[in-house]
Structures are given as structure tokens and as C-alpha cells.
């Protein structure tokens, strides 16, 4: 068993990656919901208009900030722990945390089907470590 002093930073590292990735994904999804269907915007205002609608959205900017934080947390984690532990653990837990956060913050209808899908993918991604 790993000593607590060694275990805690690993949990904290994975937690930081999962939390920042979830915040980034939720903000990004919220921004796109606020902007509306990009295909329709592109039909009306072209690709530059659609790109402008995205990059001038505040939530999108905040989402990019959190995804960048997640990326640097991942780099930090990889610098201290093995990729085979950090990568699948963070990716699989993010599926579950995203489902929970989407239900709470985006009011998405996360029914039994979606929970099952998230848990199956979470388990599958975790198995990719072996």
C-alpha cells in the first residue's frame, strides 16, 4: 500500500485534472448552447461570422482558460506520475464528473441510458491502462 504522503498528491493531481477539465467542458457546452446551432449561423454569416460568434463569447473564453489549466495540470501530473495511471484515471473520471455537472449546471436530461453509457465508457477507458 502506498504511504498517505505519496497517495494524497496523486489523488490531488488527478482531482485537479478532472475538475478543471469538467469546468472547461461544461463552460464550452454552455457557450455553444448560448450561441445556438453553428450550422445555421454559418449559413447566414459564413465561417468568419460563426468563428466570431464563438470567440467573442465570454463563457467560451473561460472554458478555454479551464481547459488550458487542465492541460497544464495533466503535464504536471505526467511529470510526477506514470502516464498509465494519470491518463486513464483522469479521462475515465471526467466522463462521470461531466455527466454529473451537465445534469446540475446545464440541466441536461441525464437519464438511465446516459448514465449507463458514461459508466461503460468510464470503465472501458480505465481498462485501456492495462
Amino acid at each position: 500500500m502506498m504511504p498517505r504522503s505519496a497517495l494524497l498528491p496523486t489523488v490531488e493531481m488527478i482531482g485537479a485534472i478532472v475538475l478543471t477539465a469538467t469546468a472547461g467542458d461544461i463552460l464550452m457546452a454552455s457557450a455553444m448552447r448560448q450561441i445556438g446551432d453553428l450550422d445555421r449561423i454559418r449559413e447566414k454569416r459564413g465561417i468568419p461570422g460563426a468563428a466570431l460568434a464563438v470567440v467573442t463569447n465570454g463563457r467560451f473564453g473561460l472554458g478555454v482558460f479551464f481547459l488550458a489549466l487542465s492541460f497544464f495540470s495533466l503535464l504536471y501530473g505526467l511529470n510526477h506520475r506514470d502516464l498509465s495511471l494519470i491518463g486513464p484515471a483522469a479521462a475515465s473520471l471526467t466522463f462521470v464528473s461531466n455527466a454529473l455537472a451537465a445534469k446540475i449546471f446545464l440541466k441536461e436530461n441525464v437519464d438511465r441510458r446516459r448514465w449507463t453509457a458514461a459508466l461503460f465508457v468510464c470503465l472501458g477507458v480505465a481498462l485501456l491502462a492495462f
Partner: protein, 142 residues
């Protein structure tokens, strides 16, 4: 969900898998990069495989945002996780990496998860928005 929207989800899946595989192919062809010499990473950007990988990942980000504009996050993430399956097949067949039986089992779980979510609705309608009825209601009330 229209055919065009399924196509966007397919582009998200394929660009993520091929983008990562191209980056891996490019980085393996380079000598080991040390963090004490970060300039080597900038030099890596000019490798054709890495440049192609970055272009594909830009395509991934654009198609991912497009998908989020018409489908829920809890639909897009599991639906596009087939990228892990494609990535593993590319790693096995193209990069000649070893894939253990447990990894293949993981791919079975991922595929099952995709199957679950793909059979359900892709979008949660907001309770307050009834855009199609709004103009008619204004005419009636004025």
C-alpha cells in the same frame, strides 16, 4: 438527428483518433526531447506528421464545438468515444504497439457505451423556450 449531424460526430471521432496517432508517429520519429531544451519541441512542430496531427486536432476542436451546438455534452462525449477504439486499432495495426486482452475488453465496454447513448435523444429541450409559438402568441395578445 440528421445525416449531416451524424457526419459531424464522425468527424469529431476520426480527427481526434488520427490527430493523436499522427502526433505519436511524429514524436516517435524524433530523438528524445528534454524539458531542459524546450526549443526541440518548437522544432518538432515542423515535422510533417506533427504538423498534420495539429491540423487534424484543430479540425477536431471545430467539429467538437459544432457538435456541442446541436447536441448535449452527455450525448457528444460518449458518442464520440469510439475514437478510443479507432486509436487503439491504429496503434495496433499502424504503430505496431502491443494491445493486451484487457485493453480489447475496454474497447468492448466503450463500444457498448456508445451503443447505449446513440439510441437515445441527442438534445435536452429547454422548458422555457418555445420559439415557434412565440410570434403567434404575441399576435393573439396584442
Amino acid at each position: 438527428m440528421t445525416f449531416r449531424r451524424y457526419l459531424v460526430l464522425a468527424v469529431v471521432t476520426l480527427t481526434a483518433a488520427f490527430g493523436d496517432a499522427f502526433l505519436s508517429r511524429g514524436m516517435k520519429a524524433l530523438p528524445a526531447v528534454s524539458l531542459s531544451h524546450p526549443v526541440a519541441l518548437i522544432h518538432a512542430l515542423f515535422s510533417p506528421w506533427i504538423a498534420a496531427g495539429i491540423l487534424l486536432l484543430i479540425g477536431f476542436f471545430a467539429s467538437y464545438l459544432t457538435a456541442l451546438s446541436f447536441a448535449d455534452l452527455t450525448y457528444v462525449l460518449p458518442a464520440t468515444s469510439l475514437g478510443y477504439v479507432i486509436m487503439t486499432i491504429l496503434a495496433r495495426c499502424w504503430l505496431h504497439e502491443h494491445v493486451s486482452p484487457l485493453r480489447w475488453l475496454g474497447l468492448v465496454f466503450i463500444t457498448a457505451g456508445v451503443g447505449f447513448v446513440a439510441r437515445g435523444p441527442s438534445w435536452t429541450e429547454e422548458e422555457t423556450s418555445v420559439p415557434a409559438l412565440a410570434p403567434a402568441m404575441e399576435e393573439v395578445t396584442s
